[in-house]
Symmetry: C2
Subunit: 239 residues, 2 copies
């Protein structure tokens, strides 16, 4: 009994690994998280480019609060679906997740719930390209070079930690940038680091937005990513 | 004239994206960095799993100093090889790089040298799985969940910044861990964060080493990665 979290990348069906495609095709059951039963999610679109066997499980992906009853109930229900598959003879269940299954992923919660209910299940994961990496490539932004450090954080934790990261780290990447975009852009400007900063949303999908953070004019989608690159004066130090 | 940096992942030929495979196959020339002309590099092994057209360019990848004359000369020579290919009619030159072309990659320096010599060349990149993500998957380590932040830094910058990151960030990932392993492990222990910390080297290759950082006994390869995960007490907050 193996439950495998599969990173399917940021949304572009080509930005999935060869391994992820193989494991999705070999799995006895492929689960895809959706926000509503009748709605195809991003992970599902990628999965369906390679296999027809995607079964939806409803997650409250966009809840902005903490661990709500509703979310815990969703994890429990998904976990029970996984265990039922094993009881019915499945050897391998794959759970497809946008990005990477070990980076801010729903898979973490599902895996823990399954582990709690049935400690004998083996939990594995296959890495995937993150939105940060996709935005770097699409915007022509170098994330790190030489001895630079990179700090990644979601802005659901508040803009305060972001401002601190701007002082402490060469490159700063923020997820869920949309809700506090004004405050965050002001902080980037105050730090004199707007030059080279880029943002992006819906990467590789219809309605993609990618551009310089300094040209933002109006609201930004909630799930936007912001990259503030390190300041570079030379062509680099260490590789 | 397009120069495309292709992330081929950490070493396992399956951990390359579908897009990277396509672009490698479509490119007129595929360059792979090696440390010596007679030696197959990691990037080349992955490339050769999908196409025969890999041409070696010698880079001093493992130099531990700053920007040496020798390194700058290597970038210049590689850049001239790229420009010669364009002069001979190539439309697209791909440069394969381990990991991701925008994360501590030789590609950054090559791209800048090409841009300096010939501003008309379009520079693109295709993201790749990083060693951090591969180690997380292989060791069963969640990199980030909820509102946690992650700081990534190379230890060539010294262990001081690492100790600071241990205080400021939930998850801390260090590259090039081998050279200062004793000092760094002591810092992790002092911070009370050895529990759950893992290290890895030669991921997906012969001689792979992956294990708990607390069980390290003896020297660690220079190019090792260390993950110190955040402390988690619940089954998470925000997704």
């Amino acid at each position: 009994m193996r439950l495998i979290g599969i990173g399917v990348g940021p949304g572009d069906p080509e930005l999935i690994t060869v391994k992820a495609v193989r494991v999705l095709r070999e799995a006895d059951l492929v689960l895809v998280p959706v926000m509503a039963p009748g709605e195809q999610g991003r992970a599902e679109s990628v999965v369906r480019a390679y296999t027809g066997k995607a079964e939806r499980v409803v997650f409250a992906l966009n809840d902005r609060g903490g661990v709500t009853e509703r979310r815990a109930a969703a994890w429990d229900e998904a976990a029970r679906r996984v265990l039922r598959a094993f009881a019915e003879g499945a050897g391998t269940v794959a759970f497809a997740t946008i990005g990477d299954p070990n980076v801010y992923s729903t898979f973490t919660y599902l895996a823990q719930t399954v582990r709690d209910l049935s400690p004998g299940v083996e939990i594995e994961s296959v890495p995937g390209i993150t939105a940060m990496q996709d935005l770097a490539a699409r915007s022509g932004t170098v994330l790190t070079e030489g001895t630079e450090s990179l700090t990644l954080l979601p802005l659901t934790g508040g803009a305060h930690r972001f401002t601190k990261a701007l002082r402490d780290s060469e490159t700063v990447v923020a997820y869920k940038f949309g809700a506090v975009a004004d405050e965050v852009l002001a902080a980037v400007k105050d730090a004199g680091r707007l030059d080279g900063a880029v943002y992006g949303a819906r990467l590789g999908l219809e309605g993609e937005a990618v551009g310089p953070a300094g040209e933002i004019d109006g609201p930004v989608p909630y799930l936007s990513t912001l990259i503030v690159p390190g300041r570079r004066t030379t062509r680099g130090g260490m590789l």
